[in-house]
């Protein structure tokens, strides 16, 4: 089973009953798998006429209370941004998968992390964020997809699973842990006919005096709660490290291999892997910062997450960057040499 298929099956296990998407490489295994399996599980699969239509179908399905998902890759995710902004504004849960490819424009179809800014800073118009999960293996594609549906419902928010071309195509053993549904609030806001209740309205338009600012305040409150409760990250050998490599997703697999090798050789190096890119592990990074320690972010882009690490450490440590943009990928050996140069000083 490829990473993309594991993700698709996890969505079914999590009770996703509606999927709409438009074909784009490298994530086609997701719609293909769901077209075979979702109807049999009682759900709806639609190949939409465009990514714009797909995200709006998800918007409609979610407004009616269904667990709904769409998936795409970078150019298609750009097209979904208006819809994601509407989901955030109307406080509708949804899961959006981006198996990133190289950009800008049509770019290429190899793995990339160039959509980091778009994913974590909002992406569409208006002041909003979404929870962004960055799996780095097939196990996490499974686990974080299950979690994404729960968090979407818990916060009534769009949640993104941010993968990349390699992760989606990868085959490796994983444990398909059974889905256990947590206690979540009833969707009393959902549309479905006003039987024995006042009509429900789902909207993002707030024209009355001060109304929109109040709504924005509620959204920001939600994001503060996420920052306090939902940060996920993993550290390796950071205790005495003089250099901490920070990377996520597929770049973290490469970086961890290089860091381990250097550790075995006795270098004081560690690794920090954000699993949630929003909420970003700001506090955890800040607590690790200090004058005797440097950070280096390793990314498959021209330097995006490095800005958030700099904000987090706020001048307490130097923050370096190593990356390959445009769908290029570094080898562990290449990174090993680069890190060793840095450690030698």
């Amino acid at each position: 089973m490829k990473g993309n298929e594991a993700l698709a099956e996890a969505a079914i296990q999590a009770g996703c009953s509606f999927y709409a998407g438009y074909p784009i490489t490298p994530q086609n295994e997701i719609p293909e798998y769901l077209s075979r399996k979702l109807p049999a599980a009682g759900g709806t699969f639609i190949q939409a006429e465009s990514e714009v239509a797909a995200i709006n179908m998800v918007y409609g399905a979610s407004a009616c209370g269904a667990r709904a998902m769409t998936s795409s890759s970078s150019p298609g995710i750009s097209l979904k941004q208006e819809g994601i902004s509407f989901l955030a504004g109307a406080e509708l849960p949804a899961v959006i998968v981006n198996m990133q490819r190289g950009g800008p424009g049509l770019g290429n179809i190899s793995a990339s992390q160039a959509d980091y800014f778009q994913a974590v800073k909002g992406g569409g118009h208006g002041d909003y964020r979404m929870i962004v999960y960055a799996p780095y293996n097939v196990q996490e594609l499974w686990d974080l997809t299950l979690l994404a549906f729960d968090k979407a419902d818990e916060y009534r928010t769009p949640v993104m699973v941010l993968g990349d071309g390699i992760l989606g195509q990868m085959m490796e053993p994983f444990e398909p842990t059974p889905y256990v549904r947590p206690l979540l609030p009833e969707k009393t806001w959902a549309l479905g006919g006003c039987v024995n209740r006042q009509p429900n309205v789902v909207r993002s338009l707030y024209m009355a005096d001060g109304e929109l600012e109040r709504r924005n305040g509620l959204l920001q409150e939600k994001y503060r709660t996420m920052k306090a409760r939902d940060v996920l990250y993993q550290t390796y050998d950071v205790g005495d490290a003089e250099l901490i490599v920070v990377s996520f997703g597929i770049a973290a697999r490469i970086a961890i291999a290089a860091v381990r090798k250097l550790r075995e050789e006795g270098w004081k190096i560690g690794h920090f892997r954000p699993v949630t890119l929003f909420p970003f592990p700001e506090r955890q990074l800040r607590e690790l910062a200090g004058p005797d320690r440097r950070f280096m972010t390793v990314e498959l882009n021209a330097g995006q997450m490095v800005e958030d690490v700099r904000l987090a450490v706020n001048g307490r440590s130097d923050v370096l960057f190593y990356g390959r943009p445009g769908g290029a990928i570094m080898t562990p050996e290449e990174l090993y040499e680069r890190l060793k140069d840095e450690l030698k000083g």
Binding site: A53, C64, G193, V201, S204
Partner: protein, 252 residues
Amino acid sequence: MNKTIDRSPSLKKVPLRYCPGCGHIIIHRLIAEVIDALNIRERTIGIAPVGCAVFAYDYFDIDMLEVAHGRPPAAATGMKRVRPDSIVFSYQGDGDLASIGTAEIVHAANRGENISVFFVNNATYGMTGGQMAPTTLRGQVTTTTPKGRETGTAGYPLHVAEMLAALEGPSLIARTAVDSPANVKTTRDLIERSFRCQLENKGFSMIEILSACPTNWNMTPSQSTIWLREHMMNEFKLGVFRDAGKANVTRG
């Protein structure tokens, strides 16, 4: 004479903030009346478009969703598929449906989604101040066609009903108007037929409704009624263009 007819319960007793002579008011009333006549208020979910009717969610006393400009047929698809027992309608203007949302309406129609679409054609963009719409007539002056619509650069009035009637997906496609008591009656009947299509699982239906916009046409309400009859109806023929197998029956 002081006789007034009370509003149907599905339309709230709040002021409808439309200009005098605006067709949206009549069309809202008709939809609400049919919902109540068919006794489907507690099963119905409506979609408010981006356009002058954006506040429809404040007017209809039913579950309502507000959707991005042009995307109601896609959202309605998602809604109906997860709630097949609900009655789902979208209410859209000509900018919403015939310009920015052409892909969504064509493909929802082509899939034969079991939804009702009420398409209000007033030959202009009302909400944004009277710019050219795809349905603007040849030579019609708007705020973005100061010399009148020139087909050489701005294209031709788009005939949505005829376009959709050419597809195999739809069950019922018709064009009507709300300019006279007789046409208002026909419009009401077509709205009812559209909802019945859905109740009987016959699939997609769209009722295009020619409607006046005196404010942006720079006319009085009575002048605009005459203009609608003399000019719009000349371009946009009324009739039933597709009726589940009975295709292209035109009148008027």
